[in-house]
Symmetry: C2
Subunit: 403 residues, 2 copies
């Protein structure tokens, strides 16, 4: 470079503050997502100097976002000078959000911290006559109750996991099918005005995938797909540790891949959508039983009826197509099966994994693991809090020290 050394002092302190906040957020993120657990690992992971890391960590310790303790065991690969590196953890209840899950027939709320600790759980059924007003009254009562009870805990925001379709950017509930009398609801605006807290909204499958990344079987993964099966089939897709939203926030609707143009008509307007063959409700209906417990008992019996075995085979064929389509479309390193009876799905996971890994296009060069959800039906609720924490990582939400 022929010109003189760059004049660094011309940068404004605004930009310096931006850099500092980015680095603080990056440290919180690395610890939350288990990418690092001590100063040395942070420096390596974040490509920052030890000195820079020490400054950030010391500051976050003073503000009590981070705690540091002697580790019990020496860290593999560290120079052993007799002192194992001090382990860093995020302080319980220092970064906390309110989690809301809006389901078709009920709403649930709780308080959660960035480590996944929870408290103040509540849940209400939505009455048959529920409309926008009733939903908002219910939510405001439940959220208000949490805020009252948790008066000494700093809450950074409210995260909502909801059935869709949603406008996640305008924080707007559009027109979910078969959802009481609730539609066209500016849920974010109302709650922000009422509670003076930032509100974030995302669909339940996206939230569930994030919950698995933070607290479930996706910990320390980078690219994962969560598949949810209940009254429909949808995916939450995490790529590079972030939800894949697409342009309008509607990505991941893999249940509406048609696997049979001559199959039954789907409410979406296509024929033979994969969800018709793979959603939990339809499996039970096709087999003619009411619950998965019942179906599991039948399948565990010595000689299940041939009719039921045929139904299960049809189900499996569709599941084969689905998992291969997901593998080929997104190339995750892990696929998580959720929102379905775990005993039922667990019996098929080995053969689904085997089929997927031998039939996806570039098989032989990678192995994608399939695991059941580690969190179960509450994955969207946990993920509702995680979408708030993601805003801390992005630097959109600043940390508010209380010490």
């Amino acid at each position: 470079m022929k010109k003189q050394a760059l004049n660094l002092s011309t940068y404004t302190s605004k930009n310096m503050q931006f850099l500092k906040n980015s680095n603080r957020a990056a440290v919180i993120r690395a610890l939350a997502l288990k990418k690092a657990s001590n100063r040395t690992e942070l420096a390596v992971y974040l490509h920052l100097t030890r000195m820079a890391i020490s400054n950030i960590v010391n500051e976050l310790r003073e503000e009590d976002f981070i705690r540091e303790s002697e580790s019990e065991t020496p860290c593999f690969g560290q120079p052993s000078n007799g002192r194992p590196p001090k382990q860093l953890t995020l302080t319980d209840w220092s970064i906390t959000s309110i989690c809301v899950n809006i389901r078709r027939y009920s709403v649930s709320c709780m308080l959660m911290d960035i480590n996944g600790n929870t408290d103040f759980h509540s849940s209400s059924q939505l009455p048959k006559e529920a409309d926008n007003q009733i939903l908002m009254d219910t939510l405001i009562a439940q959220i208000g109750d949490i805020i009252t009870k948790a008066s000494d805990i700093p809450i950074i925001g409210i995260g909502i996991a909801s059935i869709g379709p949603l406008d996640i950017y305008k924080k707007y509930l559009l027109n979910p099918p078969d959802f009481r009398n609730i539609r066209d609801l500016n849920i974010g605006e109302i709650l922000e005005a009422h509670f003076h807290l930032p509100v974030y909204l995302d669909n339940d499958m996206n939230c569930a995938s994030l919950a698995e990344l933070f607290f479930g079987n996706g910990i320390s993964r980078r690219d994962l797909v969560f598949l949810g099966f209940s009254s429909g089939v949808g995916a939450g897709v995490i790529m590079n540790e972030k939800i894949l939203h697409g342009f309008g926030g509607f990505a991941g609707e893999v249940g509406h891949i048609s696997i049979n143009p001559f199959g039954p008509l789907c409410p979406c307007g296509q024929h033979g959508c994969i969800e018709l063959y793979t959603m939990g409700d339809n499996i039970l209906k096709n087999v003619g039983v009411k619950t998965f417990d019942e179906l599991n008992r039948i399948l565990d019996a010595e000689d299940p009826p041939q009719f039921i075995l045929n139904c299960i085979q049809e189900y499996l064929n569709a599941m084969y197509s689905l998992v291969v389509a997901v593998a080929n479309s997104y190339d995750p390193d892990i696929l998580i099966m959720g929102d379905i009876d775990s005993v039922f799905i667990n019996r098929f996971i080995p053969e689904l994994e085997e089929y997927m890994n031998s039939h996806m296009l570039n098989h032989g060069y990678k192995h994608i693991k399939i695991l059941p959800s580690a969190i179960g039906n509450t994955a969207p609720l946990y993920g509702a809090g995680s979408i708030v924490f993601q805003r801390v990582f992005d630097g959109e939400l600043a940390l508010t020290p209380t010490v």
Copy 2:
């Protein structure tokens, strides 16, 4: 915040330099991707102060990466003081890479700058007996020739678009089917050792999608899918202006979604893969003609044979499933159809767009546009250069001023 103002001086100059380089890269990126065209727009787009922008722009001007000129017409929405804002453009040939496209039967090379100017084109057929050595000799000769001819132009790297499968991280060509005697080739390592330039490798569909983002019908878009149809069907997916790679770099293989479990066996091992019904080669074979020109003439004639109309209907049915699957999986704001005869595909784009927008799951809330490729068969070649420029945007490749 109860504690004292943060001590900014504790940050090292290394971090300052990182910030400065990031901001320089961000300015280059914003101009290259047409996100901004003057200082005011840059400040707004990058959330930086006017002063910070001016420092960066002045520096990049001195280094001749950027040129500034009076605009001909006043900019809409700007305060009119008689002086239209000075337009910023990237200097031709100031940021330049060598582009390579490895196809099944030929290799092509050229020099390209970040504005899409090209020079020194060359192309060679791969002889039947071609093996790793012959391919590398061909590439080294062609690339060496460009470097010799372009001796006064600074070249920042070599980008390669190739048929797959590839290990894009190790820059390794794995085992592409039906590819002469070429396989298991550490193409990146060899070229880097030979030319002392950084080499980047990506698959042809990913490169094509990036070419559309930089120079084609994806300019100023954020989330786009490029679908390529020739001897197979694959997608290049751009989300948030970056290629969606997935964990192993294999994302986007939407041609291997099965739309008919009882359909013909696909070489991938599944039955009824969508590419069997939609790839260009198969359409011609099914109809029984040799070229798309011939097929176009038949379809333009007054009374095309019913058999051919049936073939076309089967093709369209599969295309309907494909575009809806893509819309539901990725939710792009634009879908680009490439690597297929443009007269042929253009006759179906209106009905494909209509079908997709009325059958994707959340229809009514968005409209996804379908357009033909603006670049044509050379899209992967152009995109090969763009993957190098992306590394400038990411800060991985530093700019090397020549003035």
